[in-house]
């Protein structure tokens, strides 16, 4: 069954395409938009994006498989990205990861049965001074301890943070509201 981008997504994409000299350059934004609009980037969704940008579907497939934030399968409402790279590792990131796996009952890379969480082991997320840390959508969870992980999970269950940040829909308001997660006074 062919799928089509919604009217709203097409409008958004048209505005994006106008910012580049070639439609192909809009591939990454188009896939972000398609993923927010239609869900996982299945072959049908990839075809829809290819048709819209007038590029070969092989090009789209190559791009989808190259970048870690494009998903071909359904992911949880919260895509929880946990850094385990060197700065976080030195401060106990693998212990935090093991604790998360225990609390969620999944291994890294998996999605919980209730579809609430996809647990992702991430490379450095650029918050090394607040290690160990995790990101979910536009929100940072810093200086993690097992207690903070419990709080974080409860919070995310009650209010999932979408990885599909939408500037047009006033995403900035929710993003600005979490500013206190960056530690102040260090500078």
């Amino acid at each position: 069954m062919p799928v089509h981008l919604s009217e709203a997504a097409r409008k958004k994409l048209d505005a994006v395409i106008s910012r580049y000299p070639t439609p192909m350059a809009a591939t990454l934004p188009a896939l972000h938009i398609a993923q927010a609009d239609l869900g996982p980037l299945t072959p049908e969704v990839q075809q829809a994006v290819a048709d819209y940008l007038k590029v070969p579907v092989a090009h789209i497939y190559g791009v989808v498989t190259f970048y870690t934030m494009f998903h071909q399968r359904k992911v949880g409402k919260n895509v929880l990205m946990v850094c385990t790279n060197i700065s976080c590792m030195l401060r106990g990131a693998y212990e935090i990861m093991a604790y998360l796996e225990k609390q969620l009952g999944v291994k890294r890379g998996e999605t919980t049965a209730d579809g609430m969480f996809t647990l992702v082991e991430e490379e450095c997320l650029a918050a090394c001074a607040n290690a160990p840390m995790a990101i979910c959508g536009p929100e940072y969870f810093l200086d993690l301890t097992p207690e903070k992980v419990d709080q974080m999970l409860a919070d995310l269950r009650a209010r999932p943070r979408s990885e599909h940040v939408d500037f047009e829909r006033g995403g900035i308001a929710s993003a600005a509201g979490v500013s206190d997660t960056v530690r102040e006074g260090d500078h």
Binding site: R19, Y20, P21, T22, M24, A25, A26, T27, L28, P29, L31, H32, L53, V55, H59, G62, V63, F66, Y67, T68, M69, F70, M81, T84, N85, I86, S87, M89, L90, R91, E122, E123, C124, L125, A126, A127, C128, A129, N130, A131, I135, G137, P138, E139, Y140, E163, V165, F167, G171, I172, A175, A176, V178, S179, V182, R183, E184, G185, D186, H187
Partner: protein, 467 residues
């Protein structure tokens, strides 16, 4: 006058959550100088940049003014690209810069774009930085609304479009030519240089790619002059430096500090020392791509040239007594890199640290060229089995042999980075790696031999070409 620890050029508004509102930023003077700057000849601004000794803060430390000068004078279309794909492990400054002071970045973009007669700038922001993306999008929208961007910038008739472009998760897109490929809608595959992006860059046009920290220094240089900025710094490196200190320190953070501060002062004074009063075993000076320093090397200044040439820093070796040759007889001490300083205390398991770093490079290799695609995976496997006490006799030499085979033989610097980290760790902490292998021997726990890794590493060890 040299900078002091109180000199703040780009982090003045860190912690002030209101500065991302354009009205607040304007009140403190943001954009106030734009109309005046745009009345000056572009060549004069370029000249001030050359005088300033501003060096690229993304990692390479190349002179910004010189880079701008490479754009052909008769170029019809040029692009400015801001590389905000910050993902070098240990580095967390651009994210904070964008979050706290997006309008300073936009002002720097206006000045820079004008100086190189460019009419479209793209900001490539890392996909995972969703919050900063939203902050930046809002700031750009506000700057358009106030007339600082668009068809008639600040009423001067100069046109400048700025587009914020989100990545989607790939470390390699922080490599400047990989970033261009990604911005063109493709996989983030780096390109061979030359031609350099200043000649053939985005969409085939001359393109300047700069780091956010670099660009955010530009308004102050334009305002106060290149000589002022040069005098703040040390040697041939102008200005201050943002250092992101993480790992085993009491006060990790992002600090704007005088160029050339010593690692000892940074760790024990600025960052309050090591938790538990422990000693430092090693320090990664500028992101994991750079070879680490050991405890005896903490007095060297954190400055671009010093980290490459200071005789107190031991040169990386392929095997004990055999120096690693970067090509043309140049040896490798370390480099200032991205400002990501990772401190490791006396109890740190160095083979385990290298194994993690090597797995990172293996994961992030784009897969385009063979030495890096295969070699980074071999490095990760051998480093991991050593760290997990499953190493075989000869594994430490195998590690450096693989690294030697990658270095200088890949399209972009990711291969070098993977190799340099391995060479650096083994050079500085060799006895720890050997002890792990010996421990494995005693327990009879070596993993079975992996013929492809062993034989191919030997075949690939001819390397060592420069860039």
């Amino acid at each position: 006058m040299p900078a002091t620890r109180d000199t703040k050029i780009i982090t003045r508004y860190f912690g002030d959550d209101t500065q991302k509102q354009i009205a607040v930023a304007e009140k403190r003077g943001a954009y106030a100088a734009v109309a005046k700057t745009l009345g000056r000849p572009p060549a004069e601004i370029q000249e001030q940049l050359k005088v300033s000794n501003l060096r690229g803060r993304g990692g390479a430390g190349f002179y910004t003014g010189a880079k701008w000068g490479f754009v052909p004078k008769d170029a019809k279309t040029t692009y400015l690209v801001i590389n905000a794909d910050e993902s070098e492990p240990g580095t967390c400054k651009d994210r904070e810069l964008i979050y706290w002071d997006p309008h300073l970045l936009i002002e720097g973009i206006i000045d820079t774009a004008y100086a190189m007669s460019c009419h479209h700038a793209y900001i490539y922001i890392r996909g995972e930085m969703m919050r900063e993306y939203l902050v930046l999008k809002q700031a750009v929208a506000d700057a358009y609304a106030r007339g600082y961007l668009g068809k008639n910038v600040a009423g001067t008739g100069y046109q400048l479009e700025v587009t914020v472009h989100r990545g989607a998760g790939a470390y390699i897109c922080g490599e400047e030519t990989g970033l261009l490929s990604s911005l063109e809608g493709k996989r983030g595959w780096p390109r061979l240089k030359p031609p350099f992006p200043a000649i053939v860059g985005l969409f085939g046009q001359p393109t300047i790619i700069n780091n956010p920290e670099t660009i955010m220094n530009v308004p102050a240089i334009v305002d106060k002059g290149g000589a002022w900025f040069a005098a703040l710094g040390m040697g041939k490196s102008g200005g201050t430096r943002l250092l992101c200190v993480s790992g085993h320190v009491n006060k990790p953070g992002v600090y704007e500090l005088p160029m050339g501060i010593s690692f000892r002062e940074l760790i024990f004074d600025v960052c309050g020392g090591v938790p538990g009063g422990k000693r430092v075993k090693g320090v990664i000076p500028g992101g994991v791509s750079m070879p680490p320093l050991d405890e005896s090397e903490l007095d060297v200044p954190c400055e671009f040239d010093a980290l490459q040439t200071d005789k107190r820093i031991k040169e990386c070796e392929v095997s004990p007594g055999v120096k690693f040759d970067m090509g043309g007889g140049r040896t490798l001490r370390t480099m200032a890199g991205s400002g990501g300083v990772v401190v490791m205390d006396q109890d740190t398991d160095m083979p385990r640290a290298l194994a993690r770093i090597s797995r990172f490079f293996a994961h992030e290799s784009c897969g385009q060229c063979t030495p890096c695609r295969e070699g980074s995976g071999w490095l990760a496997r051998v480093a991991t089995r050593i760290a997990e006490e499953g190493g075989r006799p000869g594994d430490v030499d195998l590690l450096t042999s693989i690294a030697h085979g990658i270095a200088g033989n890949s399209i972009c610097a990711l291969g070098d980075a993977a190799a340099w980290a391995a060479l650096g760790f083994v050079t500085k902490f060799r006895s720890e790696f050997e002890a792990k292998v010996e421990a494995a021997q005693r327990r009879g726990a070596t993993t079975p031999a992996e013929p492809p890794a062993a034989s191919a590493a030997g075949a690939a060890s001819a390397g060592g070409g420069g860039h």
